[in-house]
Amino acid sequence: MIPELGEFALILALGFSIILATVPLYGAATLKTLWMQYAKPLAKAQFTFMLISFICLGYAFSVDDFSVQYVANHSNSQLPMQFKLSAVWGGHEGSLLLWALILSGWTLAVSLFSKGLPLDMLARVLGVMGIIATGFTSFLLWTSSPFLRYLPRYPMDGADLNPLLQDFGLIVHPPLLYMGYVGFSVAFAFAISALLSGRLDAAWARWSRPWTNIAWAFLGAGITLGSWWAYYELGWGGWWFWDPVENASLMPWLVGTALMHSLAVTEKRGVFKSWTLLLAIFAFSLSLLGTFLVRSGVLTSVHAFASDPERGFFILVLLVLTIGGSLTLYAFKAPNVKSESSFAWLSREMLLLINNVFLMVMAVTVLLGTLYPLLIDALGAGKISVGPPYFNALFVPIMGLMVICLGLSSAARWRNTKMENVKKQLMLPAIISLLAGVIFPFLYGDGFNFRVFIGISLSMWIITTVAKEFKGKFRTSSSITEKLKQLSPSYYGMMLAHIGVAVTAIGITLVSVYSEERDMRLAPGETVELADYQFKFLGTKPVKGANYTADQATIEISLDGASIVTLHPEKRRYNVKKSMMTEASIDPGLFRDLYVALGEPLADGAWAVRVHYKPYVRWLWLGGLLMALGGILTVFDRRYRQNKSEKQGVAHA
């Protein structure tokens, strides 16, 4: 009964989406106030029924209703409760329902936090989001309903959730990632509304900015979490694999980063309008493309859902309609590429534009690398796969150039900057960074290392230029605390995010250069030494978990004879899927991780054991979190609340 209720709620949600996609847009086109005012209640109704539908599916999982196909395929009665609930988005159908729920959530949020928006703009934005919701809810209902039953004969127990996904990481990773993906639909809707109305002024950019930043922050946090999950769950210590699905999340993030900066320029200086609009369309289009790549089976990936050409075809049609439609609209209505205010070669505008170009080049690099196997295959030229060397060779140098620009732009002013000023401002940071880059490998490692020199110099370049600019803010002010209060949250957010880039860069550099690992056959009592640490293997013992049995090893780690920590990596065997899983055990630290994973059992109680020493690996994710935090902080800017109070002021007068 409950699953049918869920399906019914989903149908009702689709009904409201269809009305939302038509009535307010028609009202905005014909200036009918009443029609436009339907947008807000419709957004609420759509969200309510989507939520009911989602709760119904969650209920089916919690009570082990294996007559529902989706539940039977992704859950099991032995599964612990928290994983039963997160299994709701452990497969294609449920994760798509989550996607749709989050989309309706964003739509609701726009309708609630948009007091300063003119009615016609709000009607258009919500209408555009309604169109997207209509597309995806139809997709759910026609090709991927999670509420289908196995009747009359249904399995006694479920096939269980993929053991890889039975983890805290999976509970939070997809929702965060989808918050980001889908969040770009708001910036997209604003861009389309601006194109539809023809009012391409700075106001449009100002409204889009907080939504874009927050979606970008969620996406960044999701990617960071995914990387961390891969590191501790996949059992071989890597943190980024250039897997098509990882790439699918990285591309919108890169374009989203470009969009954030471009929006800032458009709002403040009124330039790059066409470019910013295009970025807004691209960011969301790449989110949609990612959805297509993951769910259509055109690429092989560890993440890919079961392939189904019918589903693939449906999403492809959705892509053509939304992206094709918006790019057509763009081609006809975007303003001609001429700017209202001019700027010189050396100016903040120019540097931000260059950074934008770098970000786009990186996104295109990733896109090409991801799609290349598909292109070659489609041309009948054979089967190939593109590996990390391609991505690293192109991605890393562009990243470096971009970081140099990042530092420069902190010294540049809007419109025009004198070369002498830039030199004066940046001489000291440049010297400090280069020195740090030279000295660090001598202090930390065994001698000069070019990669470390580049990585550390670039990271220090960001930190020192940010610090220098921050210090510059106090030149004119006498009271430091006063000035600290005056600086806006978005300024602090920007600093935090830029520092985050530096922290991540340090992490990437040091972990790629100074990591050490060894694969060893270890009999009980034997010791392996790695990076001054001694790993003593004390044998394994069988343990039993809720839905698995495991061999649990005990490994004692000491440094120069003094015991530091005892780790317990496991080799698990999940009862239902009969699959083996390696559960690595990690001693985390700010400056190094010690990572131990069990390989295969060998004769006489010996095991193949893999031990890693990973310096500064945490910095990678710490930087990612700092960036996300910075993005969130910008939303608390006073400017975004001003509208409301101004408007109230007018009403009172």
């Binding site: 691209f282 259509s296 089976g297 055109v298 790019l327 763009y330 081609a331 590429v337 598909l374």
Partner: protein, 176 residues
Amino acid sequence: MPRLLLFAPLALFAVLILFLWKGLSIDPRELPSALIDKSFPAFKVESLLAPERKLTMADLVGKPVLVNVWATWCPSCRKEHNQLLRIAQQNKIAIIGLNYKDNRAAATKWLVELGNPYQFNIYDESGMLGLDLGVYGAPETYLLDAQGIIRFRHVGVVTEQTWQELQTIMQSWENQ
């Protein structure tokens, strides 16, 4: 001119869609074998049901055969088993089993319970022959001509459709 430039993203997108559309009809998991038109790798391995008998390349040549890679740990193999039995009944081609990384007792029990479509089974316990053959996962099926040259490889469950495909290839040999 700048106006026209605004159409560029749309044009690029159209090209991309063409490729994605084409991509839908290709299965990325369908891997061509490096051994197509090459000889089946040489081997000397025990028979599954008659351990004292050593099977070699000589047992595969003389007439076209299907070599089917299977194992009891492979659920999809159970799925294709009935189709294999049907093919065996038609007597158009001999099916040779390659029992891959399996347990002899379990595999014997499987054949007794489900029926035996195979003329004989190569008992590749260590998986070394599978490695030489480039086996990607069970089930896989190879069509060999009378000289023991691999002419076709099918990855995944053999269906009636696969069987039709195999027959078309075999008929083309007869016509030559």
